[in-house]
Every structure is written in structure tokens, then in C-alpha cells.
């Protein structure tokens, strides 16, 4: 089962490598990982998408918590949450027909064309993983995909619940 873990940890040299090392050392799976400092520059927040049954997830949460740098970890998928991922994708747009079609699909998915070349469009889209997958599949049926990059997902709990240092 796919899970999204949010981790709050000290923004110090080596703290990311401890997280990544732990996952590989204990044969846990990383589907995607994003990291950046928070509004408090002494803290970083990591979002990891992972897969595993309840037993594995329990170990992941405990093992991450055990790292000295880690303040908090939470499984966002346990409760209502918002999940977003950013996609940048470059596709072939050589003639009027394909340009029109790419623009139409992009509008339907509420994406934005953010750059154009002689023969290519670059599109930006945010959403959850399912939406991004659907968009990529639809585009692939209409034109050729030159290149794509995904940020990996970030997430936040709905409502009052928050992941904070205190």
C-alpha cells in the first residue's frame, strides 16, 4: 500500500543522508522523496512516498523516529490530507493539429504551457500522482513526449492538524 510520510528534522549536514541510508540499509522502499528547509531555517521537512504493509510501515516510522536528528514523523495517509506533485513535461508540437490538441488537453487538466520552442511545448501541471499519470498517458496518445520531470509528492494534513516542532 502506498503511504506518504512527512518528516521534520534538524537542517544539518548529513541529516538527509541518514534518512536515505536508513531506507536502503533496511530494505525499505522510496517511491519519491522531496526535501527543503522550512520557514524556520533550522528545520527541514522531507516528504517520502513509500510502499509496504502495516508491519513494514510501523518499522519505518519507528526507525526514522530513532534517528537523533528527527523531531517528528507522521503518516499523512492515515488521515485526510492534501497531496500535490509538480510535473514539467516537454512534448513535440510540430503542426497546428498537434499544437491545438496539446493546448486543449493542457486546459482540460488545468495545466499551463510555460515555454515554447520551434517544435516543442513545455507544460507545467500540479496535482496528485493519479492526475499526473492520467495527463501523461493522454499526451502520449496525441504526441511524442521528449522529456519529463516530476518533483515527487509533498503533502499536508487537512484541517487543524499540523506537523510542528512544538
Amino acid at each position: 500500500m502506498r503511504r506518504i510520510l512527512a518528516i521534520l528534522l534538524e537542517n544539518e549536514a548529513g541529516s538527509l543522508s541518514r534518512i536515505v541510508g536508513l531506507f536502503s540499509q533496511r530494505a525499505f522502499n522510496i517511491v519519491s522523496l522531496t526535501v527543503a528547509p522550512t520557514e524556520d531555517a533550522s528545520l527541514s521537512r522531507i516528504t517520502i512516498a513509500t510502499e509496504g504493509d502495516d508491519k513494514i510501515l510501523e518499522q519505518i516510522v519507528k526507525q526514522v523516529n530513532k534517528l537523533i536528528d528527527v523531531l517528528k514523523i507522521t503518516d499523512l495517509t492515515e488521515r485526510q490530507h492534501v497531496e500535490r506533485e509538480l510535473l514539467l513535461i516537454k512534448v513535440l508540437a510540430m503542426n497546428d493539429k498537434s499544437r491545438t490538441e496539446v493546448k486543449r488537453i493542457t486546459d482540460i487538466f488545468r495545466g499551463a504551457i510555460i515555454d515554447i520552442g520551434k517544435q516543442v511545448y513545455t507544460i507545467q501541471l500540479t496535482g496528485d500522482a493519479d492526475k499526473l499519470n492520467a495527463f501523461i498517458n493522454t499526451l502520449a496518445n496525441e504526441t511524442e513526449i521528449i522529456e519529463s520531470v516530476r518533483s515527487g509528492c509533498v503533502g499536508i494534513a487537512r484541517g487543524e492538524k499540523a506537523l510542528r516542532a512544538k
Binding site: 548529513g14 541510508g21 540499509q25 537523533i68
Partner: protein, 576 residues
């Protein structure tokens, strides 16, 4: 008020001195020469020069296990640091408090593949509790204090500190400032068990008909032996120890039913298999205990007390988990038993003991002493060793058959008497660990029990023993082969002894003598007791006792692979 400025090297030594470090085990080299210079100019911290950095880590480890203090190591960058890796992993697996100070090339050269550069923080990451890269000289004292705090609290473990040479040399200086209190917002180990879990645990324990207490190294680390004994006696419960937990209850206590697991006693493994409630105290259901986890004690309710939440429900699901320091949790359990006016159900208790005593009567920890040719049985040597030391020695073991024989045949009356590499199984651990123990307790008998394989993995330390006058007694059960490997080859690999013998052993007596020690060889049973007594009578010199033992002897009992905890070979060809 004028401020006194110090070099980084001086700050390191001042911090160690402020933390009351008596001994620093290490080996000099380029990047740490400033620290060695600072050590030379003071008297508080004594440096012990080993012959190989691996031995420095095991010495610090042995010292830590015997005293409960943090063991401290100093090594240079590159090969000095990487030589520490095995010792760090050994300490990590057995939760031993240790701080390793490693040199590093100057900050400006890091990443350039400079001479003697390795990323030791990276190399050691999977086998440390935590590590620090020092990048600012003024941080040095507080980083060292934090390292000691992390190493010795919660579930203890090794901490590595990397010190680049430019921070240590003259040229940079800083004040010696140490925070009065260590505060870390991201590290607050739980100490007390949750009261609701304590109530649940006591409910399960008091309703049990067939309770077993299964205790591990956590009892030793937490100095909880007396509390454990009180709990055992309050419940009149049978108690078994893991390999790491031996001495947690006296090996001579009536309720002690022996070590459990792969080479455990029949009664310990049977009691576990038949228990309706298992109270695990500071133990972690290691695979050398459980055997096949799918068949592990299916009818038991498991109460698991551990300071480390990751140990709970990792291999075996705990029905009642209790996270907390085991000494404090035992106190809570005793208080709750008191409050609920617990009385033993005599009928259930007697039935259970009757059953256990039947298993005990099978005398699974036994061997045949009479063999043709008068060959010495290794088990007999351990018994002789026990007699000669009145059961009071510190026994520091290497890894292999001799380790299991010592665990089975030397009942440890007290915690910290038994010192061995249980988790990692590090051959070469025994001698340097014994040296570390001897540093701490010079007036006690300190034995290194070893074999002809293990002893050669750190034999160079005989030289260190000479330099610092460390008269440990080395007892080598010499079977001219790698006994445990050979045993598995006999039992599992059709008797094909692939690379398991030693065809070019040195003359250990002469070898010991060449280092300036005393060597004694024992090769017949009738001289065993007398010569061992002789060896232990020598107080001021190291004695190397080379005992030629029966090379065909196997360690029994032994769990049958893929079986349940109590499926065992009792002796050759006989199943339990």
C-alpha cells in the same frame, strides 16, 4: 576577566578531562598529532597505545561493558578510522556506549581524495547511534559532551566525531565553553513505561499459568539485576537469559533455567515454547533465540519491555508493548503487583515448575567426559576454569565454540562478568576486550576465553599487554580447526571441511614467550586442573594457556534449522 584561548586539540583533551575520561584507547597518525601533543602535556587522560585500531575499539568496548562508563577511542583519518569499523559495529549491535574521535584531513582538502582521507562519517553511518562532523573550533567541547550524552543514554551505542586537522592545529583558537546542561529538541529518550501498559502487563502476568521471564542485555546495561531478582522471586517465575543477558540473574539462582536459543538449554527453550505468557525484559527476539519466527511460541501472550521502540514487534509481534528503561519499568511492575495485592497461585505455579523440572532432569547441558586417548573435552576446561577462579572471574570471550561452552558451563553470579560479542559475533574481540576490563579492574581475575582461530585475529595485542602490564589469563581451546565452522560442515555440509582447519598454527607457548609473557600448554586431562591453578596463581604476568582439546566435539544442544524454538538436537543424532 581575561579569556583563555586554546587550540582545537587542547579543547578536545580539556573536554575529555571535564567528562572524567580516564583512558583513551588509540593510535597516532598525521591528522591527530596535535591531539597527541596536547595529551603529552597533561596528566588527566591516559592514552593507551594499541597495535591496531580495531583493538582500540574492542578495548574501549570491554572497558565500557565492565564499568558501564563510555569507552573512548582516538584514531587518525583514513586507515586509522576504517580500522575502527568492526569495533564500532560490534558496539552498535550490543548497545555499548562508545565515542570514537577520528581525525580528518584539513577542511579545505575534504573531497579532494587527499592523503589518508576517507569519509568516516559516511562509512560508519549504518553502524552508529549518531555522528558529528566538526566544522567550527568553538563547537568542539559541546559536540564531545553531546556525543557522550547520546552514547550513554536511552539505548546506548557508539558515536563518531570527525575532527579535521585545521581545527586542531595552532592557528585557530577558541575559549573552552561547555554548556551547563545538554538539551536537544530532537532527542528525548522515553524513560518510564506508560501506566496503562504497566497495568495491562501486570494483568497478563498475574493471570498466567505458565509464565516465563526472558531477559537480555538490557538488564545488564540498565544495572537492573537486583530489581530483576526481586521480580523473579515475587512471581516465583522461571527465568531464562539471552547470551547477552547472562549474569542478569545469578546462574546459580533456583529459578534460572539456563540460556535460551540456538545453543540454549532444553528447559529454557521448552519453557518458552509452552509458556502462556512471556515477559521479555531488555531482549530483542534475535534470530539466534527465536529459530523459525513462524513457529515461535504461538500460544503465548508476549509482554515486551524495551527502551528502543524499533525492537518491539520487529521480528515477533508484541501483544503488550512497554517502552521504557527496564530498571524503571521493573520498579513500576513491582509497585503495581504490590498495589493489586498479588499472591502467587500456588497450584498453577507448582504444576508449571513440576513440568520444568522434568525437562531439567534431562540434563541437556552435559557431555561425555570419558573418551579414548584421554582427550580433553572443551566443556571440562570451562568447568576447571570456573573452579580455579571460584566463579568470580571476568570472562571475556572470542567467537565460536569456546564462546558457547563458556556461556553454558560458567554460571555467572553477577552482571558484567560475562563479556562477549553477541550481536555481531566478532572474532578477535576477546583479547582486547579482556585488556580493557583489566584496565578497569586490575585486581580481579580477567580471562580471555578463545580458540586457535579467534586469538590470531588480534594476537598483536600481546605486545600492548606487555607495555601496560595487563596480566590477563588467556585460555585457548585449541582444536586445530575453526570449530564452529567445522561443526556446521559436519552437520549441514556432509562433513566437507572446506577451509576450516588451521594447518600452520604457531607454537603458542613460544609466541607468548617471545612477547615476554608466560606460555603453558596442557595436552592431557590429568594435568588440566593443576596447570590451570598454576596459571591463575601468577598475578603479575600474562599467562597464555594453550589447551589441546578434542577437535571432534560439537556444541549441544543445538536448535534444528527452520524448526520451532524447542526443536533441538540434544546430542549427536538425538532429538529433543
Amino acid at each position: 576577566m581575561s579569556t583563555e584561548l586554546h587550540t582545537g586539540a587542547e579543547l578536545v583533551v580539556k573536554a575529555l578531562s571535564a567528562l572524567k575520561v580516564k583512558y583513551l584507547f588509540g593510535y597516532p597518525g598525521g591528522t591527530v598529532l596535535d591531539i597527541y601533543d596536547a595529551l603529552f602535556k597533561q596528566q588527566d587522560v591516559e592514552h593507551i597505545l594499541v597495535r591496531h585500531e580495531q583493538a582500540a575499539t574492542h578495548m574501549a568496548d570491554g572497558y565500557a561493558r565492565a564499568t558501564g562508563e563510555v569507552g573512548v577511542v582516538l584514531a587518525t583519518s583514513g586507515p586509522g578510522a576504517t580500522n575502527c569499523i568492526t569495533g564500532i559495529a560490534t558496539a552498535y549491535m550490543d548497545s555499548i556506549p562508545m565515542v570514537v574521535l577520528s581525525g580528518q584531513v584539513p577542511t579545505g582538502l575534504i573531497g579532494d581524495d587527499a592523503f589518508q582521507e576517507t569519509d568516516i562519517v559516511g562509512c560508519s553511518r549504518p553502524i552508529v547511534k549518531h555522528s558529528f562532523n566538526c566544522r567550527d573550533i568553538s563547537e568542539i567541547p559541546n559536540i564531545i559532551a553531546k556525543a557522550f550524552y547520546i552514547a550513554s543514554t536511552g539505548r546506548p551505542g557508539p558515536v563518531v566525531i570527525e575532527l579535521p586537522k585545521d581545527l586542531l592545529m595552532p592557528g585557530q583558537s577558541a575559549e573552552f565553553l561547555l554548556d551547563a546542561e545538554i538539551k536537544m529538541r530532537s532527542y528525548n529518550p522515553t524513560v518510564k513505561g506508560h501506566h496503562r501498559q504497566i497495568k495491562k502487563a501486570v494483568q497478563a502476568i498475574t493471570q498466567a499459568k505458565r509464565l516465563v521471564i526472558y531477559s537480555g542485555g538490557g538488564i545488564i546495561i540498565a544495572n537492573a539485576a537486583e530489581l530483576l531478582q526481586a521480580l523473579v522471586e515475587k512471581l516465583n517465575a522461571p527465568i531464562t537469559n539471552t547470551l547477552m543477558g547472562l549474569g542478569g540473574i545469578s546462574g546459580l539462582h533456583d529459578n534460572f533455567i539456563g540460556m535460551l536459543g540456538m545453543h540454549g538449554s532444553l528447559e529454557a527453550n521448552k519453557a518458552m515454547a509452552h509458556a502462556d505468557v512471556i515477559l521479555a525484559l531488555g531482549a530483542r527476539f534475535d534470530d539466534r533465540v527465536t529459530n523459525n519466527v513462524k513457529k515461535f511460541c504461538p500460544n503465548a501472550t508476549i509482554v515486551h519491555v524495551d527502551i528502543d521502540p524499533t525492537s518491539i514487534s520487529k521480528t515477533i509481534n508484541a501483544h503488550i508493548p512497554v517502552v521504557g528503561l527496564v530498571d524503571i519499568v521493573i520498579k513500576q511492575l513491582l509497585a503495581e503487583l504490590e498495589e493489586t495485592n498479588y499472591l502467587i497461585n500456588q497450584e498453577n505455579n507448582q504444576d508449571w515448575w513440576q513440568q520444568i523440572n522434568q525437562w531439567r532432569n534431562e540434563k541437556s547441558i552435559s557431555y561425555e567426559n570419558e573418551v579414548e586417548g584421554g582427550k580433553i573435552k572443551p566443556q571440562r576446561v570451562i568447568q576447571a576454569m570456573y573452579q580455579a577462579t571460584n566463579g568470580e572471574a571476568y570472562v571475556c570471550s572470542d567467537v565460536g565454540q569456546h564462546q558457547m561452552f563458556a556461556a553454558q558451563y560458567y554460571p555467572f553470579a553477577k552482571p558484567r562478568q560475562w563479556i562477549n560479542s553477541g550481536g555481531l559475533g566478532t572474532m578477535g574481540f576477546g583479547l582486547p576486550a579482556a585488556m580493557g576490563v583489566k584496565m578497569a579492574f586490575p585486581d580481579s581475575h580477567v580471562i580471555c576465553i578463545t580458540g586457535d582461530g579467534s586469538i590470531q585475529m588480534n594476537i598483536q595485542e600481546l605486545s600492548t599487554c606487555m607495555q601496560y602490564n595487563l596480566p590477563v589469563v588467556i585460555i585457548s581451546l585449541n582444536n586445530r580447526s575453526l570449530g564452529m565452522v567445522r561443526q556446521w560442515q559436519d552437520m549441514v555440509y556432509g562433513g566437507r571441511h572446506s577451509s576450516s582447519y588451521m594447518e600452520s598454527l604457531p607454537d603458542f607457548v613460544k609466541l607468548a614467550e617471545s612477547y615476554g609473557h608466560i606460555g603453558i600448554q596442557i595436552n592431557s586431562l590429568d594435568e588440566l586442573d593443576e596447570k590451570l591453578a598454576q596459571a591463575f596463581a601468577i598475578k603479575n604476568q600474562l599467562v597464555f594457556v594453550d589447551v589441546l582439546v578434542d577437535e571432534k566435539e560439537h556444541v549441544y544442544p543445538m536448535q534444528i534449522r527452520t524448526g520451532a524454538i524447542d526443536e533441538m538436537w540434544i546430542k549427536k543424532g538425538v532429538k529433543a
